[in-house]
Symmetry: C2
């Protein structure tokens, strides 16, 4: 069997083929320009291979309800042109193979849970802290889907005393994403986050906000592992600070995390750096062709 | 088949028998005094019936890990004497029938999900707002269990501007439970909550805090229904206020709840008033004897 994997991002779409998630071949980047041009280029790429199915890890929000007439459609996007575009429908129509779709965050969760930093756990979360904050989690039987995909990034958290930034979320102002996303850091300090020194207050504040957000995940999901990915988390000095803050906030209340050292193995960086989306997309394709997903048309 | 149901509370233990959760017979209250005396009385009650199994809905925290040597044990309790007590072990030893145990909150969730206010939903939450705040949720396949039972009540939320109460949680001060439990209301206003007039600021503030807590559940679980029970929620004026605040806080971001009217069917009071624990306990017993739970010894 040969599978196709597509990670559709805001600036580029990564394509690959392979017979297993670990075997990504011919990784190719196609610029995300207009839907017409980009979709055609992607379709041409996959048409060169005798593939049995495709998995798509898509930027979003995407309609993921298999019963919806808009299944697979990008429902709202800062990229106006892409609103209403549908990778799944297009590729299925053009190539005549089943196409599975989920969010880029869920694809990263699949990759980390089955082959990466959350391997061996059945209660785990993947949270990306980049331009925005998004997450997805695994509940034992598989990826959790509510009535809509979880939008973990928009929970409300208390503000840190010395922070007077109003928050950058266009919907909620100072929700977690509004206070702790990469965009929030950029706006608050009026500087590219990458240029802030390691000891800048920006990072200790970031660790405080992320810990307040993680506490909600700890109390609601009591997970074995939380993988923190995304551009902001490449600032690896954040990890020990976040763990220390979480430990202080939990204050011994949850027995499994009562010893703070445990958190070293709970709050961890991703295993995959740039290929999590593609690895997860291929797993979506494999699940669909093996009938483990029921969202096939 | 005849089943036993036990709802173990801090002041009394309710016992019942029956052949189905809807058929609770001989409901009997036994005072919760010393473990020795109370456990003996409960055992005597059940010994009068030819029961095939017992379900226990217990106050907690309880060790719910079937692989733990402390399985079923009350691990920490304000009632010092009860620390280390184990309903499950005791009744199984005395009566020689399988005994299933879960928290009182999870039992209430089971009752509401299968026969009550969350009937027909597969993604639902039961949250009790009483002396403390606790919750449990259903993920499609069944009750969610993390590494430990969820302690939803202890998430962090922003404070309301005109509230200067420090919070009453002995572990976290002003977590959700510390700000919005019945005990918090009593301490903040120095008054029994039941004596506060319907239009008192206590209630609008309570609705604001509960909405901030619910928003975390909305963004993480995107549930079809959230059942709000417990003593505080008998103040039914809270429901419309909570729904309005949740709608404002979500601000249309989650598509399924974009129309605020939808929330009338999502945030609801319980169907069961006083028997949810017993109904759920009997469901635990039935699941165990039918082999749908694997925690039998």
């Amino acid at each position: 069997m040969l599978y196709g994997a597509l990670e559709a991002g805001g600036t580029k779409c990564l394509c690959a083929v392979g017979d297993a998630p670990q075997h990504l071949q011919d990784i190719t980047a196609i610029p995300t320009t207009s839907p017409a041009r980009t979709l055609a280029a992607i379709s041409e790429y996959f048409a060169r291979y005798p593939i049995d199915g495709i998995g798509v890890a898509s930027f979003g929000p995407v309609d993921l309800d298999p019963h919806s007439s808009d299944y697979g459609m990008i429902t709202r996007s800062p990229k106006q042109e892409w609103q209403g575009a549908n990778f799944r429908q297009y590729l299925q129509g053009k190539l005549g193979v089943p196409v599975a779709i989920d969010t880029d965050v869920t694809a990263a969760l699949l990759a980390e849970q089955s082959l990466g930093a959350a391997l061996g756990t059945t209660r785990c979360v993947y949270l990306t802290i980049g331009t925005g904050i998004g997450g997805s989690f695994w509940t034992g039987e598989g990826v959790y889907h509510g009535l809509w995909h979880p939008e973990i990034g928009h929970i409300r958290i208390p503000r840190v005393d010395d922070d007077h930034f109003i928050g950058c979320c266009p919907f909620h102002g100072d929700c977690l994403e509004g206070l702790a996303s990469g965009e929030a850091i950029r706006q608050r300090w009026n500087q590219n986050p990458d240029t802030l020194p390691l000891t800048h207050r920006a990072w200790s504040m970031e660790a405080e906000y992320l810990a307040l957000g993680l506490v909600a995940l700890f109390y609601i999901l009591v997970p074995q592992r939380i993988v923190l990915g995304g551009g902001v988390m490449q600032q690896s000095q954040l990890f020990p600070m976040i763990r220390a803050n979480v430990s202080t906030l939990l204050n011994g209340y949850l027995k499994p995390f009562a010893e703070s050292k445990v958190l070293d193995d709970v709050i961890v960086p991703p295993h995959f750096r740039n290929t999590a989306g593609l690895v997860g997309a291929m797993q979506l394709a494999i699940s669909l062709t093996k009938g483990r997903r029921t969202d096939s048309p």
